[in-house]
């Protein structure tokens, strides 16, 4: 009851903590919802399927996404008849509308339409090889003619039907198309199916059908998972940091109140419990709004992720109550933990402090602050050492940990460095009265200054770390990608996933046709190349499998056909980039060509869905795509964390100014003009932002040095540390503007 009264009464003071919690829970809910939504989903074309039987899946590391193995139609037909199933034979098919390839690229036989419960809305199913059933959004009617690209090339079809699905359906499949799965409909028991197929096939049912997701989508989802995990870790850290910092700051501001309560008989324990109950009450209400905001925000951020290409188009937010509850409870737990630590300090307030009118902190550093700060710094240094020797995959994790630990250490220890830093910063201004006041205020109220600088520290440190990490990494990888192309011009896909055979036939040059073959269940990446005359393997791969010149290897290719290839050459790894190279004509015709390195005089008009790029443009485009993904990733992280921390900057400065209105009033009485007060507050804000930015840069520099050391180690060449200063300048400027708005604007006008 007392806590409720206290919450009501301290409504204004607790607003700061409320906002911090609201932000934290919003971030947590948002990322948690997106994380659980990022699980693979059953492809739409299997939505009505009970059981799918597929070849045994590829055995590959979880962060590689090889094509699914397939059966030949001949192989699968017998099994399908036994199971009364439908052969699923997805292949490349893309309609051309007004001379441009349309968005959807999936083709199948009409027989598979039932697996996804796709129905004809007008017309009738394709009955001959020249007919196609198209989705309604293509804007074509039965009887129309439409040009469709398949692996062999473009061809005109007659639209026989319009349906409510998303794929293009034909009567037949292009030559050498393999079977991905056999779909079984109706009331079938997966165990019974398993008994029929034995151990030579995989049986999928229910949510297991998500394994049939296209590898491209799975890869996008995996990248999205990395983004979301990083977002989750960052938002959890930011939430915990902000909430703990804000609560301990609010305790700092309420010393007089606590002294008074102590004087009228509150025991230290009672004070702690009061604060705890208060925090839980605030967290309970702020958390509820935070969850609601997270729920509203999740689909917005989700569609941003799809647009950014880090989630497949099939990504939808699932409103699972579990992550919402988890975010809500985490908010309460974090608030309770944050205030519990701060309350020990509050409970140590002597009753006498209520009698002191002027506020001067006597001991900015407590023993627990020292211990915590030094401990966090030690963890930061250890994580930094780990970063310097980590591999490419775990480096961002360690770098993030380094930065987090250093941020905590820096904000705990900052009361020690704030006074000298403030003196240095204000040295040029110390002759004016305002300058003197600013310096003295920052130096005597080291804790308050440190607390208000903390969100700035966090913002600057993470912006600099993330952008610096990406920039340093990019320059490192660019150094490695320096080798030139053996050609002047390259033919590449334009609006399509690859080049059709018709395009390739019309453009003499070196054909690159990457594909996947299976050695048993092990997927091998293969480059089909018109420059190779026979099967060529890398020394590493040959050593791994005991292959020599002349060995015959049995492999399964993309069409599901078993082939016997004889090794003609074993070459050093760098000459066989993918590990295996075969003549392009050995790659099944259902596989699209990636690029053609055009012969010097071979540049003709490219065919449908292709374009010619100069070699430098081609290299730049390959880089650009990778860079775009990385920068999108960076932007999401920096934007999200930065946006939230900026609000926190405003929040703490607002709290600080409000808490000091009395001091400022005294100054007014002592003869300061309203303009002088505004200048004073503005200057103080500038000092706080400058201190936070300086400390943040120190933290980020530490983490970036570790990253640089790690990258140099990995690549065996010195990597320059690249820091995108304009980005950091903008971040600091944003902090300043936000800070001014939060501290100067609420001042009384007169």
């Amino acid at each position: 009851m007392l806590s409720l009264a206290s919450v009501k009464a301290n409504r204004v003071r607790l607003l700061g903590s409320f906002v911090a919690l609201l932000l934290g829970v919003t971030m947590l809910t948002l990322t948690a919802l997106l994380l659980v939504s990022a699980k693979p989903q059953v492809p739409q074309r299997f939505s009505a399927t009970t059981v799918a039987v597929t070849p045994l899946p590829a055995q590959a590391p979880s962060d590689t996404f090889p094509d699914h193995p397939r059966w030949t139609i001949a192989e699968a037909t017998a099994l399908a008849e036994k199971l009364h199933g439908v052969l699923d034979t997805p292949f490349y098919a893309q309609a051309v509308i007004d001379g441009k390839p349309a968005k959807a690229t999936a083709g199948n036989t009409w027989a598979t339409a039932v697996l996804g419960n796709t129905r004809v809305t007008s017309g009738s199913a394709p009955a001959n090889a020249d007919e196609v059933a198209v989705p309604a959004d293509l804007g074509r009617q039965p009887g129309d003619t439409v040009t469709i690209l398949t692996a062999p090339g473009p061809r005109d079809y007659r639209v026989s039907a319009v349906h409510d699905g998303t794929e293009l359906y034909f009567r037949d499949v292009p030559p050498e198309t393999g079977v991905l799965a056999i779909g079984v409909l109706g009331d079938v028991d997966p165990a019974a199916v398993k008994a029929i197929v034995g151990s030579q096939a995989q049986v999928l049912a229910g949510s297991e059908l998500s394994a049939l997701e296209p590898p491209g989508d799975a890869r996008t989802r995996w990248i999205g998972m990395q983004v979301l995990t990083a977002m989750g870790a960052l938002s959890a850290f930011v939430a915990v940091f902000l909430v703990a910092a804000t609560f301990s700051f609010s305790v700092l501001q309420r010393r007089r109140e606590f002294g008074l309560l102590r004087a009228v008989g509150a025991t230290p324990g009672q004070l702690r419990r009061l604060l705890l109950r208060e925090a839980v009450l605030v967290a309970a209400s702020a958390g509820a709004i935070g969850v609601a905001l997270g729920v509203v925000g999740a689909p917005v951020v989700g569609s941003l992720l799809i647009d950014a290409g880090v989630e497949p188009a099939s990504f939808t937010v699932r409103y699972d109550p579990l992550p919402m509850a988890a975010a809500y409870l985490t908010g309460i737990a974090v608030a309770a933990a944050g205030v519990w630590i701060a309350s020990h300090r509050a409970a140590r307030v002597r009753p006498l402090e209520a009698l002191r009118v002027a506020e001067a902190e006597r001991r900015p550093m407590t023993r627990s602050r020292w211990i915590g700060g030094v401990l966090a710094a030690a963890i930061g240094v250890l994580a930094g050492v780990a970063t310097a020797s980590a591999d490419a995959l775990s480096m961002p994790t360690y770098a993030g940990l380094t930065a987090m630990a250093l941020v905590v250490a820096m904000s705990l220890l900052s009361p020690v460095v704030v006074p000298p830093l403030a003196r240095v910063l204000m040295a040029p201004l110390s002759r004016s009265a305002v300058g003197l006041l600013v310096r003295q205020n920052a130096a005597t109220a080291a804790r308050r200054t440190a607390a208000t600088a903390a969100p700035v520290l966090l913002t600057v440190a993470f912006t600099m770390l993330v952008t610096g990490m990406v920039a340093t990494g990019a320059s490192a990888y660019a150094a490695r990608r320096a080798d030139a192309l053996p050609t002047a011009a390259v033919l590449v896909a334009d609006g399509t996933p690859g080049l059709t055979q018709a395009v390739v036939d019309g453009s003499p040059g070196i054909v690159l046709k990457p594909t996947t073959v299976f050695l048993g269940r092990e997927p091998l990446s293969v480059m089909g190349s018109s420059q190779t005359t026979g099967l060529t393997v890398s020394e590493t791969l040959a050593a791994k499998h005991g292959w020599k010149w002349g060995s015959t290897v049995e492999l399964t290719v993309a069409s599901g056909a078993k082939v016997q290839w004889t090794i003609q050459d074993v070459l050093p790894d760098r000459e066989v980039p993918l590990g295996v190279q075969v003549p392009a004509h050995l790659v099944p015709p259902s596989v699209l060509t990636q690029a053609v390195y055009l012969a010097a005089d071979g540049v003709k008009a490219p065919g449908l869905g292709a374009k010619v790029l100069s070699a430098p443009d081609y290299a730049a485009q390959a880089d650009a795509e990778e860079d775009r993904l990385v920068w999108t990733f960076t932007l999401i992280l920096v934007g999200m964390a930065g946006g939230f921390t900026l609000i926190a900057v405003a929040n703490t400065l607002l709290m600080a100014t409000r808490g000091r209105l009395n001091d400022l009033l005294v100054l007014r009485k002592a003869g300061a003009t309203a303009g002088q007060i505004r200048r004073l507050v503005a200057a103080e804000t500038a000092v706080v932002v400058a201190i936070g930015a300086a400390l943040g840069m120190v933290v980020a520099t530490g983490a970036l040095l570790a990253i640089r050391a790690g990258l140099s180690e990995q690549m065996g060449l010195p990597v320059p540390m690249t820091v995108p200063w304009p980005t950091i300048g903008v971040t600091v400027a944003l902090c300043l503007v936000t800070g001014f708005a939060a501290s100067v604007l609420p001042l009384p006008r007169r």
């Binding site: 007392l2 009264a5 206290s6 009501k8 009464a9 301290n10 109140e257 008074l260 309560l261 102590r262 004087a263 009228v264 008989g265 509150a266 025991t267 230290p268 324990g269 009672q270 002597r350 009753p351 006498l352 209520a354 009698l355 009118v357």
Partner: protein
């Protein structure tokens, strides 16, 4: 004896000695004023005697309990049960109404007073109709009366008052002093106001951390004269 101070010394750091071996005792039901020039140590004496601050040496006994060796919580519990306070700055919780402020110490002690008791206590200090007012809606004198009611409701053995009229005009002061004089407990008051001190049964004079003189009940003029000679001598 309700309170006994035995050679109480309080030093701050190594240089400042605020109290230098002060001994004093305060009998049950008496009203004592402690006077002295600024910096004489009178506030420190009060804080130590009330268990708000710990002396560097010596012993303090309140209602038979020695404060030496009590933990922070033990001290708080003792203060809660036996000690009341009135400060110069009225020190009300600004977010609570007059009635809630009065109830606060008992509420903290886990025996919330019934509404009737709060009403009657406020009536005792002449604030019968002010229960639901917030401190900001009360005058200085009224706020000090709320503080007195807050002390009254715990039925303390001893009441400490630190310049209780320091922020009040003389007319309002009189009302507050009358309440203090009639307060049903041993009252120890620090003041530099001879008029306030004239309400006390006796006046202790403090200078440079030493107890220098003691006056029985005196008029304000007599006290003022004594103070003047004392300040002239140092």
């Amino acid at each position: 004896m309700t309170i006994e101070l035995r050679s109480v010394t309080k030093t701050y750091g190594e240089k400042v000695t605020a109290l230098d071996g002060v001994s004093a005792s305060f009998a049950e039901g008496t009203f004592t004023a402690i006077m002295g020039p600024s910096g004489s140590g009178k506030s420190t004496l009060l804080h130590c005697a009330a268990g708000l601050d710990r002396p560097s040496a010596g012993e303090i006994i309140i209602d038979g309990v020695s404060l030496t060796g009590l933990s922070e919580t033990g001290l708080t519990l003792l203060r809660r049960q036996r000690v009341g306070f009135v400060f110069q700055a009225f020190n009300l919780v600004s977010s609570l109404t007059a009635a809630q402020n009065v109830a606060l110490p008992r509420h903290l002690a886990g025996n919330k007073p019934p509404a009737k008791e709060i009403t009657s206590t406020l009536a005792q200090v002449g604030l019968a109709s002010r229960e639901s007012h917030y401190p900001s809606e009360l005058s200085g004198g009224e706020q000090q009366r709320v503080a007195l009611a807050r002390a009254l409701i715990t039925r303390p053995a001893v009441l400490f008052a630190d310049e209780p009229t320091g922020a009040l005009d003389s007319k309002t002061s009189r009302g507050v002093m009358e309440l203090l004089r009639d307060f049903p407990a041993t009252v120890v008051m620090v003041t530099h106001d001879p008029v306030a001190a004239s309400y006390a049964d006796r006046v202790l004079l403090l200078s440079d951390g030493h107890m220098v003189d003691e006056l029985a009940k005196s008029s304000a003029d007599a006290i003022a004269a004594k103070m003047a000679t004392m300040e002239a001598s140092c």
